[in-house]
Every structure is written in structure tokens, then in C-alpha cells.
């Protein structure tokens, strides 16, 4: 495909995005406005992540794309194909072989290294959005570090339901400063955000980029007497037997039969391989 530049976007645009990424890395958790472009896939399909990946990829990179933890979900396939076509980069399903991983809604189970970059697709980057609909207002709240509203919301959850009723996109505080939306990952994944890899977040429609440098302190919001709990289904994977990976529930018949399987397909198949080799 010669009609388009490497990784689709022109160099000027990629530079503009890289500047936003660098600014984001310099101020962890701060939402940097950027001039998001119209991409050839719809808003909501990961245009922010795709733009960040496009600005991050080099011809030597190996790309992995997951959606819901899986490499074979249709949109992951579509994004992977897009970069194969426009950037001609190596692709892989193996987490540890990838240098850039674009993800929607999950953090891989396998620990990432400082040689890797994790790119998140973000629908609504503003953690305060559902408490305050106005953007100028929420920007002001971040500037003044005025997060009382968020704590009140969490408190009200506890008084109404006896627990914090947020199970995904669970808000975090970054380096004791910015409250950040981790994108709609299950709260099970939140503790993994303190990691060796660079984490970049792209919200295309909302025109925001933010970032976490390696080893950044990321704390899930909670109260002393109601501590944060990274929960998952209390089962083990039907296929690989793992007890500590995040599980999807699959309905197997029409009489209420269900099984649980790893949402991370690469992790699950590698676990299955280990078991097979041990036998």
C-alpha cells in the first residue's frame, strides 16, 4: 500500500501526537488535548488508541492487538490488519514478543517489561464526567485538585449498596495528584497498572491523550474501612485451570449451564501448553 504514509498518518500529524504523548508522560495522569484526526474506522472503535499506536510504531516493532483480552475478537483483528496493511509491521499474539500492545478493556495477564508499550483505547477519558458533564468545569476541578465530588460518590455507593458499585473503569489517583480514568478495564486489572512498561491512553473522539511512565504510583480510590478489592469470578478457567486470571463467563446450553474461561487468550493457551508439557 503506497498511497499512504507509514502507519497511515502523515509525519506532521504523528509529530503532533508524539508531542502530546511526551507531555502526557511528563505530567502523569493529566489529560493532554490533541488534534485528533478522523481515522478510517469509526469513533468508538479505538481511533484514539490507533492514533497513539501509529505515532509510536517504528518499522522494527512487533504489534499485538487485543480486545476484551483476546487477539481474535473482530475489532482486534480489524485493527491488527490495518497496521499490517499501512505499516507492514510484524504482528504477534504472544504478549512477551510484542513491543507495542494495543488493548481495549484489558491488561494482559503476563507481566510486561520495560521494552514494551501498552496502548489503551479510551472512550471517556474524564473520570469526573458522569459527576459533572461540563468539560471546562472538570478541567478546573483537576487544576484545583478538587476531587471531593468523587469521594462523595464512592461514599454514597457504600451507604446505598454497602460497597463501591463500580466494577470497571474504576478511578485511580496517579502519583498522588491526578485522578485518572483507567479506561474500561475491570477493576481486577487496576493493581497491574504499576508496571515496567510505558502506558499510553488515547481518546480519539474526546481529543485527549494521557500517560503513565514506568513504575508510576497508581492507587485505586477507596476508604480505609472499605479498601479497594480487585475482584473476579470465584472460579478457575475451564480450559487451563488458572485461578488467578480474569475470567469470562460463557453460556454453554439453554438450561443455565455456564463455564468460565480466561479472557486473555494468549495467557490461556500458554498455560494449556505448560500443562500439556508437564504431562
Amino acid at each position: 500500500m503506497n498511497e499512504y504514509n507509514f502507519a497511515y498518518l502523515d509525519e506532521q500529524t504523528k509529530r503532533m501526537i508524539r508531542r502530546a504523548i511526551l507531555k502526557g508522560l511528563a505530567i502523569p495522569g493529566y489529560q493532554v488535548p490533541f488534534a485528533s484526526r478522523e481515522m478510517p474506522m469509526p469513533y468508538g472503535w479505538g481511533t484514539g488508541g490507533v492514533q497513539v499506536s501509529a505515532a509510536t510504531l517504528t518499522p522494527k516493532d512487533t504489534l499485538k492487538v487485543i480486545d476484551q483480552g483476546a487477539d481474535d475478537t473482530t475489532n482486534a483483528i480489524s485493527i491488527r490488519k490495518f497496521f499490517q496493511k499501512t505499516a507492514n509491521v510484524e504482528v504477534t499474539e504472544v504478549t512477551k514478543d510484542a513491543t507495542v500492545i494495543q488493548t481495549r478493556h484489558r491488561i494482559p495477564e503476563t507481566d510486561l517489561s520495560d521494552e514494551q508499550i501498552l496502548v489503551y483505547q479510551v472512550p471517556i477519558p474524564e473520570p469526573l464526567r458522569f459527576l459533572e458533564p461540563s468539560e471546562p468545569e472538570t478541567r478546573k476541578m483537576h487544576a484545583l485538585e478538587e476531587y471531593g465530588l468523587m469521594h462523595v460518590k464512592l461514599y454514597e455507593d457504600i451507604s446505598k449498596h454497602g460497597a463501591i458499585a463500580t466494577s470497571y473503569a474504576y478511578p485511580v489517583k496517579v502519583e498522588g495528584r491526578y485522578v485518572m480514568d483507567p479506561s474500561p478495564i475491570p477493576k481486577f486489572d487496576n493493581p497491574k497498572m504499576e508496571m515496567s512498561a510505558i502506558q499510553l491512553f488515547g481518546a480519539g473522539r474526546e481529543q485527549r491523550i494521557y500517560a503513565l511512565p514506568p513504575y508510576t504510583k497508581v492507587v485505586s480510590l477507596d476508604f480505609e474501612d472499605y479498601p479497594f478489592e480487585a475482584s473476579k469470578a470465584e472460579h478457575s478457567c475451564e480450559l487451563c485451570g488458572s485461578h488467578n486470571s480474569y475470567l469470562d463467563e460463557v453460556i454453554v446450553d439453554d438450561t443455565g449451564g455456564r463455564i468460565f474461561v480466561c479472557s486473555d487468550t494468549d495467557y490461556c493457551s500458554s498455560q494449556q501448553k505448560i500443562i500439556k508439557e508437564a504431562v
Binding site: G44, H105, S167, V252
Partner: protein, 364 residues
């Protein structure tokens, strides 16, 4: 036994093949050409160009063909193509006084220099299905005007201007920001608001404008003037030291004259709303002018009535149909992971609630 579903790649390829087949329809029926769309569905082409922010009737027609007539999908195709084009400058403001009009009407004066020219309008057609058209769309003799329209038709509002009855618009002489190259930050300048409105969804802008007419920040608009025609686009070439004509575009311009009793900061005078849209897009340009006027409350010292059409953030953030349709439709993508975490949460909360009821019953 459950087997993880593979084969998404093949499914996508097959879906695309099926889509092409559906687009083509019955092979016994002649294929529609892009040229036919461009010539005979020109108002659809205009809408796609306006909301796609790209003036290219050929590409717009192709997009309509490719999208099976789904205009938002066609607009999306054009926008995605537009992203890949370099921006090489900012043209001079088009001079609509020198528009070669095919239509020019005023609702505020019975007659004015330049005259009222109806042009090709649906306005006074009776909306009766023309069954003859189904069989034969050929046209009979169309009379020609005996003399051409004046090449310079002054704006109606300029007549009000001489009396000082209408508010003056300052000429900032500055290059406006480009909505497609810089992130939108609020509050937005009027130039930026107008940019956003002109590419906004016709239905959304229409609904917003209609809401002002029905009392949500009513602003008493008259169509001072509506004109449709071609204007030339000129670009300053620094190396040459003068501007050159780089082409001609068809636009629809609407200026509303709005009643205004004055405010704390402004004297009683007429005020304006402005709409300018690619192609023949009459409904859109009138609607745009009404919404523009509603958004100007702050600058004119009016009260904020809390109406949706006065709320810049609400209007600008929700008018773009490509953003809206993308985010709306994305909820059909897989959300297994989030849904799973919600399932766990609901089960946990129910367990706790049941435990609470049981212990309460035991206590009683």
C-alpha cells in the same frame, strides 16, 4: 465442550463480500454510476460535502454509491479521506456580495436592489407524487431569462446598516482556527462555532434551531436574506504578492435579522445570525443561522435562559454526526469483560442484600 471462537478474520472478509453484493443489488437492474448520483441526487451530494467538510462533488457521489445511500456513512468516508490531505493554506474570506446567484430571497423586504429570485426551489411545489416521473424523467422546454442577473447583488442587511439599525460585525482580519487541526477548547470563538455548525449534523442543527422557535431561547428570527450561488475562492500567494483564484464553489448563505430590545450592554437594534453551507443546503443554513444567534447571548449581554441551543458546550460537542454515530454504535462491539465485572458486582450486592434481609428476619 466450549471451544474458543476462532475465525473472526474469515467472518470479516465474508461480511465485506456480502456487503458489496447488497450494495450492487439485483444484477438485472442497471448499475448506478457516480455521475448519475452527482447530477441527479445533487442535494444528497451537497449534504455529504457540507458535513464531510470537503468540497468535491465527484468524491461525494462516489461515497454515496459506496455507502448504499447511507449519507452519514458517506460523510464518514469523505472525512476519513479528507484527513489524509495536506492543508496548504487559508483562503481569503469568500465575497458573497459577488456571488453568481441562482436564488436570492428576502423575507424582510418586498423588493430590494437585485430583486427577489426564486430559483430552483421546492417551496411552492405541491407535494404530490409524480407518477409520470417513475416512467419518464425527461424534461420539457425550460424558459431562459432574457437578461442575466447583476454580477454584484448587495446584501439586504447592508441597507439596514446604513441606518445603523443592525448590529455591526467586526472584521477581525485574523486567520480563524481550524477545527479539524486543533482540539476544540471552550469557550470557542464565533468563527470556530460557525465552523462546527456548518459541518454539524443537519438533523441536529435543525432540531436545535426549531427548539429556539418554540420558545427555548426564542430569538425572533426573520430571514433577512437567503442566497444560493457560486463564489470564487481566492488564496494569497506570498511569493506572488497577490491572491489568485483557485476555483469556484457553490454555497448557500443565510443572514437572519433578529429582533432585539437591547440589553444592559447593547442598545435596541437588530442583531444577526449567520449560516454558510456548501452547496444548495437551504434548510441547514437557515437552521445554522438561528443556532448561531442563540449561541451569541453572552456577547450581546442577554440572559442565559438555560436553553439547550444557548449552551455552546452542549451544541458543539453533540452536533458532529460522525462522532455521535461512532460512539453510539460502538456499544455493539464486545463488552464481555465489563459486563462480566458488572455480573459479579450485581451477584455480590444481591448476596449481601439477601443476607441483610435474612438476618433482619431472624432478629425479628
Amino acid at each position: 465442550m466450549y471451544v474458543a471462537v476462532k475465525g473472526g478474520e474469515k467472518a470479516i472478509d465474508n461480511a465485506h463480500a456480502w456487503l458489496s453484493e447488497e450494495r450492487r443489488g439485483d444484477l438485472a437492474i442497471e448499475e448506478l454510476s457516480s455521475d448519475q448520483i452527482k447530477e441527479q441526487l445533487s442535494l444528497a451530494v451537497n449534504r455529504v460535502m457540507a458535513e464531510g467538510s470537503l468540497y468535491d462533488p465527484d468524491l461525494a457521489a462516489l461515497a454515496i454509491k459506496q455507502s448504499r445511500g447511507d449519507l452519514i456513512e458517506a460523510i464518514f468516508l469523505l472525512r476519513a479521506y479528507r484527513t489524509t490531505l495536506p492543508r496548504f493554506g487559508c483562503s481569503n474570506a469568500v465575497d458573497t456580495d459577488r456571488m453568481t446567484c441562482i436564488r436570492r430571497i428576502s423575507a424582510t423586504f418586498k423588493d430590494a436592489p437585485g430583486g427577489q429570485v426564486l430559483g430552483p426551489t421546492f417551496d411552492y411545489t405541491h407535494r404530490l407524487l409524480d407518477f409520470k416521473l417513475a416512467a419518464d424523467g425527461e424534461i420539457t422546454d425550460v424558459p431562459m431569462a432574457t437578461e442575466p442577473l447583476s454580477s454584484e447583488i448587495p446584501h439586504i442587511t447592508s441597507f439596514l446598516n446604513t441606518e445603523g439599525l443592525i448590529q455591526q460585525e467586526p472584521n477581525t482580519q485574523s486567520e480563524p482556527q481550524d477545527l479539524t487541526r486543533e482540539p476544540l477548547e471552550l469557550p470557542a470563538s464565533r468563527a470556530l462555532r460557525l465552523q462546527s455548525l456548518t459541518r454539524g449534523d443537519e438533523g441536529f442543527i435543525l432540531g436545535m434551531a426549531y427548539s429556539t422557535q418554540r420558545g427555548y431561547a426564542r430569538n425572533h428570527a426573520f430571514v433577512g436574506e437567503l442566497r444560493i450561488g457560486k463564489v470564487s475562492v481566492e488564496l494569497d500567494i506570498p511569493e506572488l504578492g497577490f491572491s489568485i483564484d483557485i476555483g469556484e464553489i457553490e454555497v448557500t448563505e443565510c443572514e437572519t435579522v433578529n429582533q432585539f430590545a437591547g440589553s444592559k450592554t447593547e442598545p435596541p437594534q437588530f442583531t444577526r445570525g449567520y449560516g454558510l453551507v456548501f452547496g444548495q443546503s437551504e434548510r441547514k443554513s437557515i437552521a445554522m443561522a438561528l443556532v448561531d444567534r442563540a449561541l451569541r447571548w453572552r456577547e450581546l449581554g442577554e440572559d442565559n435562559l438555560g436553553a439547550p441551543a444557548q449552551d455552546e458546550e452542549f451544541v458543539l460537542y453533540h452536533s458532529d454526526n460522525i462522532q455521535a454515530t461512532g460512539f453510539l454504535e460502538h456499544i455493539k462491539l464486545p463488552h464481555y469483560v465489563d459486563f462480566q465485572s458488572e455480573l459479579e458486582l450485581i451477584r455480590k450486592l444481591r448476596r449481601e442484600a439477601e443476607g441483610f434481609t435474612q438476618s433482619k428476619e431472624a432478629a425479628e
